[in-house]
């Protein structure tokens, strides 16, 4: 089933751009939007890459909608976050600071638990591209996390 095969790919693309809670909520919206726009897909073999583009647009629209809403009042209570959550958010922020190709590939590997070959199959990227994205992305991420630590 397409959903089972691609949900994690869509989630990683969203997670590179929106908060974890919003990413969870937007996954199904991406699939609904994709089904409605399916006639625009010219090559079924390119479904993975096309679906990722739909997800990027969906994240973009989400940000635009958010900007149109009023900002939250200043007295909204802040819920104390656990140490695990704080660390996850910090790592996520560091990944979001990487170039787009690296950040999506790294999220697919580190969050969604997909292997390099699986990422290549799902996204339509070549195995060499995935290899380069993972290698360089991880190198950059290590450097940035090291800077944060120090």
């Amino acid at each position: 089933m397409l959903y089972q095969r691609y949900a994690r790919v869509v989630h990683a693309v969203l997670l590179a751009r929106v908060s974890p809670a919003d990413a969870d909520d937007l996954v199904q919206e991406v699939f609904l939007r994709a089904l409605r726009q399916l006639r625009r897909l010219r090559q079924p073999g390119a479904f993975g890459g096309w679906l990722m583009a739909v997800a990027r647009n969906c994240a973009h629209d989400h940000h635009r909608r958010r900007r149109e809403l009023n900002p939250l009042p200043a007295d909204v209570p802040v819920v104390a976050a656990s140490a695990d959550r704080v660390e996850a958010e910090a790592v996520l922020a560091a990944i979001r600071g990487l170039p787009e190709a690296y950040r999506e590939t790294l999220l697919l590997r580190l969050v969604e638990g997909m292997s390099g070959p699986e990422i290549a199959r799902r996204t339509g990227l070549t195995a060499d591209s995935v290899r380069v994205n993972l290698h360089r992305g991880m190198k950059l991420l290590r450097e940035r996390l090291e800077v944060r630590r120090s």
């Binding site: 990683a12 969870d24 996850a88 580190l110 969050v111 993972l134």
Partner: protein, 343 residues
């Protein structure tokens, strides 16, 4: 071409500690929601548009027919969707202090209260039932978008559901309990502490990204402000259970933990290795080594699994070892939830 670390590439080779650490930190963000809408993609792309239009036309016609016929045939179905049917099992339970005489409905946001001599049965939408036992206070918090959720403020409940994982959840002061397609019981005391007992399938306890997966026949405790307790089989010895409670919720000083761990390991049976394996994830250093050694005595490693690999939390090795326990594979349960319970 980049000279990539094999572990980063496909999980093979020696684990990279930094990659492992990042995986561990980020895995709680992994996507795991089931599909909440039913528009599956067809296999033939070209026919999709026609099929889509035909389906839309058929759905519209059906909706018109239902709208015309429903008020006469089933007026009860026209009640607000965001409420659950409820009926007394014994005595007179109350909804917002109003006694429930016969069948009624519990709207989202409202509280059901059972006294010492009363209990009630709720229908969880169309996916199952929830018995609210005496001396319980329960609020319906969500019933839309394919998600059904209640908050158990105190008391005890028994739930049986027939739905994909994470469709039904129970909130409490100690965390969230999500069913993975199963039957379970839950108790919450005045202080917010509680226990979950799983009768069939699996249940997940979660608080602040810390989770505990509880299989059928096992239980796990929860306390406000703490990570969910480690699951244990209820036929384990009282000493084993008391020692586990110390490890989960006791003081963190090394002497107390060492004494509790020693008792736990001495009392462990082969069936309790699941508990030891779950504790592995929360332990480090010497504590982890003791857990691995005792668990391996009770359930030996299968071929290809090594002590070093297990100590390093090698996922493939832990999975292979876990298979030796003979428990239902939780991932298989997820995929085949429809087949897991009799109709």
């Amino acid at each position: 071409m980049s000279d990539i670390n094999p572990y980063l590439w496909d999980g093979s080779g020696a684990p990279d500690p930094e990659v492992q650490r990042l995986e561990s930190v980020l895995t709680p963000l992994r996507y795991s929601r089931p599909l909440a809408f039913s528009a599956a993609a067809p296999s033939r792309w070209r026919g999709l548009r026609l099929v889509w239009y035909a389906a839309a036309a058929a759905a519209t016609a059906a909706a018109v027919l239902v709208a015309l016929a429903l008020p006469h045939a089933r007026p009860d179905l026209l009640q607000p969707r965001q409420s659950w049917q409820v009926r007394p099992l014994q005595g007179r339970p109350e909804i917002e202090s109003v006694p429930l005489e016969g069948k009624g409905r519990l709207p989202v946001g409202k509280v059901l209260h059972t006294g010492a001599q009363s209990s009630a049965l709720l229908k969880i939408g169309r996916i199952g039932s929830l018995e609210v036992r005496p001396n319980s206070v329960l609020r319906l918090t969500r019933s839309r978008g394919g998600k059904y959720e209640v908050a158990l403020l105190r008391g005890s409940i028994a739930a049986r559901t027939w739905a994909p994982p994470f469709t039904f959840s129970v909130l409490s002061a100690a965390g969230r309990v999500s069913d993975l397609g199963c039957s379970f019981e839950m108790e919450v005391g005045e202080d917010g502490a509680g226990i979950v007992r799983v009768r069939s399938g699996w249940v997940e306890l979660e608080r602040n990204f810390r989770e505990s997966l509880v299989p059928a026949g096992a239980a796990a405790r929860m306390r406000p402000g703490w990570a969910p307790g480690t699951p244990y089989f209820e036929d384990s010895s009282p000493v084993f259970q008391a020692a586990l409670e110390q490890l989960d919720f006791g003081p963190p000083d090394p002497a107390t933990r060492a004494a509790a761990l020693s008792l736990l390991l001495a009392e462990a049976r082969p069936r309790d290795v699941y508990t030891l394996m779950r504790l592995l994830h929360r332990s480090t250093g010497e504590e982890r080594a003791q857990l691995v050694d005792r668990a391996a005595q009770l359930v030996p490693f299968p071929p290809g699994v090594t002590r070093e690999g297990v100590l390093a939390q090698n996922t493939a090795m832990l999975n292979a070892w876990y298979e030796q326990l003979g428990l239902t594979n939780v991932k298989r349960w997820w995929v085949h939830w429809r087949d897991a319970l009799p109709l």
